[in-house]
Amino acid sequence: MKKIVLLGLALSTLVGVASAQNVTIKINGYGGTDPAVVGDLINRFVKPAVAKDNITVVYEPLQGDYNQSLTNLLSAGNAGDVFYLPGETVQAFAATNRLLPLNGLVSSTPFLAALNRTFTVNGKLYAIAKDTNSLAIVYNKDIFDEAKVAYPNANDTWTTFADKLRKVRQALGNDYYGICFPADYARMGAFAFAAGWRPFDSQGRTNVNTASFRRAFDFYTGLVKDKTAIQPSDLSEGWSGGCFAKGKVAAAIEGNWIVNFLRDSAPNLKYGTAPLPKDPTTNRRGNFLYTVGWAINANTKNKDAAVKVLQALTSVQAQTYILEQGLALPSRSALQRNAFFTKNTPESQAANIIFRGSSDGNVQTYSAGRYTLNDFQRPINEALTSVMTGQATTAQALQRLQTALNTLQRR
């Protein structure tokens, strides 16, 4: 009898040990093409790295509106152990107290300082950036050649850049446009930053009645008003990349995401990339920093395993692979010396310029601080639209915009 009890005890201990060591880490991220990319990344780099610790990794994409789904899952206690944290939602999700502060758990030193700042709220680091992106001018070489106008370059100011676009339009006629961009803060904001405007003052308030904002606003809307620029919807497209791929516009303002799109939808289009033009007054560039980080669920039952998975996901090997595959730009500062950036291909040149754009001049993370990005940028977009379509003057639009922002920020 004693032997049987002992045997039972030994067996249950073994089972216990085995189950304690077999840990499954669930990762939540975007749907679309991400499951294929992240799945590949997990198989190549994460599984081999964490296999010795008996950690199994599963990727569960959240289809539809990611932020909404993540909110539901976090609120219900069903979110993954590790998940994407878009840069613009850091403050909103940090306020839920469901994000694990990573200070002391993960070293943020190897990653770009601007990205670490993006994911830091009140001194606590909530995520490690998985990649980075910024804006650049993508231009159609054939159109510039046809019009006999010099390509956009790093020395361009708003004035010289606009001149080039106008010359292209004059040379090629009404079927072609200089540039395609939407009435969107996500593009116009970069010019406002170049002019020295900041989205929030020291009290956290937004002021659009400044000379810097107005100058950028006038530059951006002016290109549409004099028909140098066209909005994507007027070419029956949903975004600038769509009208650029059509070959009807000389330039577009986009990030590295346009590279794969052009490879698939306009493989014969010869394009080049230039940094965003400088404000002639401040002689500085502005830019948006777009990023998504890996965060850990504060309620995870397997904190140590989650940290190991996060480290494997952002390892040098994993980031080198996604860079060289042309999938994303790395968030590790050391990788800017990777040979990929110096290759003589349009993809590498675009990657190089966009990667450097992450830290050149006045760069702000694409976010709205403690406000929802949609709530914050919607009135700005409406103001841009009303001026671009001739329904309001700049003064009227900015006055209405300031009132809308005041209402939002009093909430």
């Binding site: 932020n67 999700f93 940090a94 839920t96 919807s233 029956s236 009303s386």
Partner: protein, 365 residues
């Protein structure tokens, strides 16, 4: 209650159980929770506290809520009125005994079975600044003089023909189809000649450039233009469904009533007004009730338009509630629930009011 009655009741409960359970969980429980949350500062994550009527007091100071309230009421009343009238007229048209009516009934029903997302995207495309609506307006502005000439000649020739027929003591109606075809042919030839000889000129006006979505303009000073496009879209998709109810109702109206009216000399319009409309009152009550409830809770069409139109111009109460809860991170769920409860109260009130003033079931008594 004897054994047989007991077994009947038991069977009834058994069959009703799935429905009752669903109702209890997804309606009664959810509604009670929403009412409870509306008195708290619930934010989906933290411990909630009871705040009394603070959410209700605050919500009426929120400009966006007031826009949503105004838009919802406007949308609901205009859409319900339009769709009810159009569905009734359409049912009358499709109630004729003519060849190929089944085809027309099927064709006109199509918008109802198409996904509202698909229809929404088609409307977005139609009403773009370079969309079909502006293209047609441009064509009308260019060919306006030719179209007017055609119509004027058509009317003139038709009048002449009818007068001549009547002079020969033949019973010709003003809308006689055979004469109309001849008039149309003559009008077409005359217009073609006038255009070719340069008497009537085809314009070369610049493209019409109306912004239907990204605008703060208001029709008649009170109806936001983007909301008007949503009304058009909603009417387009719901009229066929409601038409089907009217069509079913029309089958039950005794033919004898129309025959009696005809003997009394009632015109078709009078028959519609004094026989069909009163006889269809129970159906109309149902159609108006369903229409009001559906339109008061309209959400998807606003969501599809999204950023393409200014929020104040299209926001409805349902969309207001949704965006306040599901924006990512901590949410003003308690505040939003106050909006949801107000929406429920308005729906109940309007339906009760129309029940009070719209006598529902006396037609067949």
């Amino acid at each position: 209650m004897n054994a047989q009655q007991r077994s009947v009741v038991a069977a009834a409960i058994l069959f009703l159980a799935p429905f009752l359970a669903t109702l209890a969980v997804f309606f009664v429980y959810a509604f009670c929770r929403a009412v409870y949350f509306s008195f708290t500062n619930y934010n989906l994550f933290d411990q909630m506290n009871f705040v009394g009527l603070r959410n209700y007091a605050a919500i009426f100071g929120d400009n966006l809520f007031l826009s949503a309230l105004r838009n919802t009421l406007l949308f609901s009343l205009i859409t319900t009125a339009l769709q009810t009238i159009l569905a009734l007229l359409m049912a009358n048209v499709l109630n004729q005994k003519v060849k190929g009516i089944t085809f027309f009934r099927t064709a006109w029903y199509m918008p109802s079975i198409t996904s509202s997302v698909v229809i929404g995207l088609i409307f977005l495309w139609l009403f773009q600044r370079v969309g079909l609506a502006n293209y047609l307006l441009t064509q009308i502005s260019n060919y306006g003089s030719a179209i007017m000439t055609f119509l004027l000649v058509l009317v003139a020739v038709q009048i002449v023909q009818v007068v001549l027929e009547r002079a020969r003591r033949l019973p010709a109606s003003w809308f006689d189809p055979a004469l109309a075809v001849v008039s149309a042919l003559i009008a077409l030839i005359v217009t073609w000649l006038l255009v070719n000889f340069g008497v009537v000129r085809i314009g070369d006006n610049p493209a019409v450039n109306i912004t239907y979505y990204a605008t703060q303009e208001k029709l008649f000073g009170f109806l936001p233009v983007p909301l008007a496009t949503i009304i058009a879209q909603n009417v387009f998709t719901t009229v066929p469904t409601l038409m089907l109810f009217f069509l079913a109702g029309l089958q039950n109206v005794p033919r004898a009533l129309y025959e009696a009216a005809e003997i009394d000399g009632a015109t078709k319009a009078q028959q519609l007004l004094y026989v069909t409309v009163p006889m269809l009152r129970p159906v109309t009550f149902y159609v108006v009730t369903v229409g009001l409830i559906g339109t008061l809770q309209m959400f998807d069409q606003v969501a599809i338009i999204g950023d393409a139109a200014p929020l104040e111009s299209i926001v409805t109460l349902a969309y207001f509630v949704f965006t306040r809860v599901f924006s990512g991170g901590v949410a003003e769920a308690g505040f939003a629930m106050a909006g949801a409860v107000i929406l429920a109260a308005i729906t109940l009130l309007i339906v009760l009011l129309q029940r009070r003033f719209f006598v529902s079931d006396e037609a067949f008594q």
